[in-house]
Subunit: 420 residues, 2 copies
């Protein structure tokens, strides 16, 4: 059931373009029960393409080849494939007609470069004769070879609608795969790894993956096997165990995010949120408004970068700013409890994201976060390590997660608090 | 001069994590005059790691191997490398001491898992003995093998500060490479491609690259050759030509970004900016505050997501909201000219990012952008195609770019304006 992926393109090999297409193809194949043994990136070079293709055919049950199908001079996949496999290039009448039609419609002269798209290795089955990209399937010595466009959107469409249905008929996987994602915040990758020592060894079918996705760590459970009911049992037990072990370090599951979970909790309470941001500079608002429908629970945010803005918009007193400074418990308290916010819940953050602005008493990374609820208003001091962007990300995540935890269990203790 | 890169990790092979580290490493190597023939991704599998390493040593002048150096159970690179090359694993005292020190500081028990980090194949030269990641160089049969951490930030640091200086001593490239990046906004990739038809053919040494980086298109010029003065001449002429062709579609060059360029222009005028955001939900503020020192030119931003917030914070009149709605020229005008903003310059955006909320008169993607300068206040209507996130990105980019163009040439005509 092992397959492999070959991505062709100088732009991938020189690192100018990140190879997202192979990742997408691999993910879809793995989710469907196939395994990928190798992903190779090679340049627009006939010798390398030929060698990689023949090696892959030799050791794999199927091969996905992406890129090099376009009309420009560096697109050489079709010629090289024909040469490598000893096949003729044949004119595909459907594609040829489509090219002529497009040329007519746009009033273009016939171009040999465009016509190249219609010359495919003999035996090639065009995957989507009505589409604009000429991906095709070639079965060579019983090995299915899928040649796909390298353009991300076209590749995605081909993978889902053309490749997987055909591959399923050619190579039934018989493997049942169940997978789930847990997003966590506040634990280190190694801590999590140690927590799962026993679970990882509890079944041959089960794999736990750990993926730092700053400032979160994502944990996946994958259960694979031939027996559907066994796979489901191991999967259900595994998920239960993971939830027990990680507890409220799990901020969201599956397609949910911290901000979407927070929104659902606020909607349940029929409550709304306002945010005052200083050092995060809009990051909290931006994350919140990435959720469609956020207007149901998000009222407003102010990014009061200057002291004047804190005074004028939020009513922070000049005295507080003079006596304690903008990065202080007092200022944060006044920010979050401002009369400018009429919502039941509010968050405020003020801190030193760096790289400059730190002092002995308040080093770079010092951040105050304030939380207002219908019951009370609290401010906590934090210290976050890392670059400007990391401090901003940790601040935003902590503020949103603090409110999430409060809504869940009523506690006023923030989850994440590195040594000060 | 050919090298290759091997990235190890099940999470890369299953497509869960996109392999950005190999792209980064490849880009840095290419910029330094080396060529990369192949990038391979393989899983945490001893047989595959061994086979890939030995094949690479056989055909390449140097090899970069990333991943599998961590403390967790799936990190097996060191053992497999020692086995593949017939070397012993030896305790590295420096790394061991550092682990003990960290364990003491954090009050942790000694862990064999962490200690694993200190056991390296004999002959390994630790690249950065003072750092926390144990990347190392092993010279095997005269081929430099660099083993690097897979964590993106650690890899980047190692590539720039450790690998390239050492590789330069081991394998001098003799190739002179000059490269420059132009960030553009408002032109399509294919349009740009056509504009450079002649320039691309003007010299064998010169390559132009096109990289869509939504909503921008990045254009790079790379000039490579053995003759330094010829390379410089072709490079200088190429850059001049690119600037002439692209004109003010170039929003930033090199390491600059649209927001950093905008900041520099405002600082020159000793002016400050305020922003009122509705549909972008904080994205404009977030982009601005990603620039260190933004507090010199950025005063405040309000994210007025609800109508109430628009009234209360910005003083938009109830009448305007009732008569014209929040997404209207009138509302945008009142937002940008609010008395809550005391700065010389202000931007306001209000629109329908979607996926819901559109109407026949104001379809999804309809956005009003307002620009206030010391001379006058103008509002323009735009229509941006695409998903919620794309509409938000196009809105933020257009607003920032509009102000940039105004500061540069005094015009009130926004650069980018898709058909309405």
């Amino acid at each position: 059931m092992y397959g492999e992926i070959i991505a062709i393109g100088d732009e991938l090999l020189s690192g100018k373009v990140i190879n997202t297409t192979s990742s997408f193809a691999a993910r879809k194949l793995v989710e469907s029960g196939y395994e990928i043994k190798r992903i190779s990136i090679i340049g627009d070079n006939p010798k390398d393409i030929k060698h990689s293709l023949l090696t892959a055919i030799n050791r794999s049950k199927f091969v996905i080849i992406t890129g090099g199908l376009g009309p420009t001079s560096d697109d050489i996949t079709n010629e090289v494939v024909a040469d490598a496999l000893g096949l003729k290039l044949v004119l595909n009448q459907d594609i040829f007609n489509r090219i002529i039609e497009v040329e007519k419609r746009l009033g273009l002269k016939h171009s040999k470069m465009r016509e190249k798209l219609a010359w495919l290795p003999e035996g090639a089955q065009v995957l989507n004769p009505k589409g604009s990209a000429a991906g095709y399937l070639l079965i060579y010595q019983d090995i299915p070879l899928f040649f796909l466009p390298g353009v991300p959107e076209q590749l995605k469409d081909h993978m889902i609608n053309q490749v997987l249905p055909r591959l399923n008929k050619l190579i039934a996987t018989r493997l049942v795969v169940k997978q789930h994602l847990f997003r966590t915040f506040g634990l280190q990758e190694t801590d999590i790894n140690e927590m799962f020592f026993d679970l990882e060894r509890s079944s041959e079918l089960l794999t736990i993956g750990y993926y730092p996705n700053f400032p979160e760590v994502h944990v996946t459970i994958t259960v694979k096997g031939q027996d559907k009911s066994l796979v489901e049992e191991v999967f259900d037990n595994g998920c239960k165990e993971i939830k027990k072990i990680l507890g409220d370090a799990i901020i969201a599951e599956g397609k949910d995010t911290l901000e979407s979970v927070l929104g659902d909790l606020l909607i349940k309470k029929d409550a709304q949120l306002s945010v005052a941001e200083s050092c995060t500079g809009g990051l909290i608002a931006k994350r919140i408004t990435s959720v469609s429908g956020a207007s149901n629970w998000f009222d407003r945010s102010v990014v009061t970068y200057s002291n004047k803005a804190k005074e004028e918009i939020l009513g922070v007193s000049t005295k507080t700013l003079e006596k304690y400074g903008a990065v202080s418990k007092q200022c944060c308290y006044e920010m979050v409890s401002t009369s400018a916010f009429k919502t039941q819940y509010a968050l405020a953050v003020t801190g030193i994201a760096g790289p400059t602005g730190g002092s002995k008493e308040k080093p770079v990374g010092t951040v105050f976060i304030g939380l207002k609820t219908p019951e009370k208003t609290v401010v906590e001091r934090f210290w976050f390590p890392g670059s400007r962007i990391k401090v901003q990300q940790l601040t935003a995540e902590t503020a949103l997660d603090w409110l999430r935890r409060h809504l869940l269990n009523g506690s006023y203790i923030p989850g994440y608090r590195p040594a000060q």
